[in-house]
Symmetry: D3
Subunit: 138 residues, 6 copies
């Protein structure tokens, strides 16, 4: 998975494109939830993380999501964002087993509670995906 960046794309446009490639609908939900309280922050959230950072050529989305899932699991106080990025990891090609490996590994660096809470977040995301897939299959 490579990231191509049209030469004269604005940071906001590039961020929107990258956010949609990585986070899909989950990213959009966060952005709309900010609309009435901090619309400028929604723009910053698109521009800096996605327009500036994720769109950089030096690391592919897969590696970036490994880093993000690891970082958020280790921090241990950002459950909603961890769930969004477990989704994102699946979107950019990580398997469920790989995501579980990354989270388990954080037990070494941030302790068993951080890893356990990360695994239960993953369990929720996977179960939700199965429910949606089940509904769509009917």
């Amino acid at each position: 998975m490579t990231q191509q960046m049209p030469a004269d794309e604005s940071r906001l446009d590039r961020g929107k494109r990258v956010l949609s490639e990585i986070d899909g609908e989950a990213g959009e939900r966060v952005v709309s939830a900010l609309a009435d309280i901090a619309p400028d922050f929604a723009r910053y959230l698109i521009e800096f993380p996605f327009g500036d950072i994720y769109s950089r050529p030096g690391l592919d989305y897969r590696a970036r999501e490994i880093a993000t899932i690891a970082g958020l699991t280790a921090l241990g106080n950002a459950a909603p964002q961890l769930k969004v990025h477990i989704e994102a990891g699946l979107n950019v090609g990580l398997t469920r087993d790989e995501i579980v490996e990354i989270i388990m590994q954080m037990a070494v660096y941030a302790g068993f509670p951080a890893a356990l809470n990360g695994l239960f977040a993953a369990k929720e995301v996977f179960a939700h995906r199965d429910t949606v897939a089940g509904r769509e299959a009917c």
Copy 2:
């Protein structure tokens, strides 16, 4: 880079092998520093993180070091261990630029100070490597 695990290797032997493949001398230095104060902890450090976790087949060393560098940068209170794993990342094939990308990305999740302190840790490790390489080249 794949991880092969001899069928009847003990956790301790496997951990020693993996630690040496990943961390090289830096890992051994930590283990000796523990010898007089907590020798059993040195054994646990080899057995659980390296014998159990890093040796698992589901994720290669490169991906594991991306996760560890990200997690330690995000935590922001484990500078000595971050430096060991920046070394480890280089040992298992990450480039300096890739390591810099991972650390920069943590600014999004753990703030600019965590990323800055991570980048300065990387700068130290890279400079140390250059000094050693310079000396060996003479």
Copy 3:
């Protein structure tokens, strides 16, 4: 807003007065919730933070609540206390927009997830205030 301190007020009395000036009912709810499990802790909570610290003359309540909202947003693991102090901030004269500014700024120092979770806490507090105001207007 200045803090006047009667000369011979006890720490507990001063703390109660300051807690009521700043936190209003939210502070009292915390104190009652402690009554059956740790009544002495309720007293410490009034005496040290409010009787000793908030009542000091060197900084007005407005500046103190800017500091507290910033600190609690950055810590990211104290949602109930952050909500109490978003209320407190409004009580001592911060506007909703100012509170949103303070929380947004913490994205720089503690990461986007900490700021996002802080903004959603503010959104809840503001919505609750509007509901109560709506009810009282009827």
Copy 4:
């Protein structure tokens, strides 16, 4: 309370025995919740914390649970694990009052919000115990 360790017990068996002595059913519930997502992690959770650490002779269970309750309260981002270890503390002989003392003391080191959230976790655990005891008394 002393910890006796049969000479040729495996880490897993020892861990299961210790987990059951300390955590009772709460430990088992965590282990089963991991069964479908990360069964190996359930094994590590039994082997390292309980088979290796809690079973060491140098500190009794009572002292170990004081340490764990203090550590989890201070971290402030591991509410489910804190509740399990408040239960565990009661199981190994700590009184409710002693647990409240430990948590209160963390206000000094990790701030009042960490202590408050720890006290409310204890309140929930104690109330749950009373409900169960009340049901069993009927």
Copy 5:
């Protein structure tokens, strides 16, 4: 102190101007230290925190530095950045006593160690300023 923003200033130019108004030389030193390892990150550091956030009209520099000093003291793992912002606080008009008040207050929310380490950071910054002033007076 108000923030005026020329209509067609780029984020980078605006960030440079604001960084220089707030952090003075300390900010420039950070930016140069990044030049050889992560020059793009130096740009992001100017653009997002200073070009986007600090330059927003809703909160003056004084209030922003109260928030930043509080947040960094509470986090407790960003000593170099805390020192830069204690300097910045003085630059934008906070008195030494006000900075001490902000840091002391964080004992309530992040514990006494965080506040103590913050106060010792302030002590270093104040002493350094006095030395420089003493030298310049000769």
Copy 6:
């Protein structure tokens, strides 16, 4: 070791007595270091942690120091305070081996880096004690 509390001792006097019983000279050094920057904070540090909390009858000093060493190791960002309380633990009767056990156990809850950094802090404190004892033996 029991804590006796003269009936009409002030919080400050009680705190001074308890601080001296627990921390010995290390506590006094912290208090003097605050004298020129935040003398009131030195008083709060004596009054609340030592006058209010450590002097409470529900838990002896030994249990309180187990909790503090565990909490500070887990937080991982308060090395100076952890060293003071490793000293304090020895002062109130914990053995070096017990302190090592407490710190090792935190690997489970806060990760291996937190435990490693705690062990190296203990190693420094123990070595310093041996040096002083060696000098005094001559």
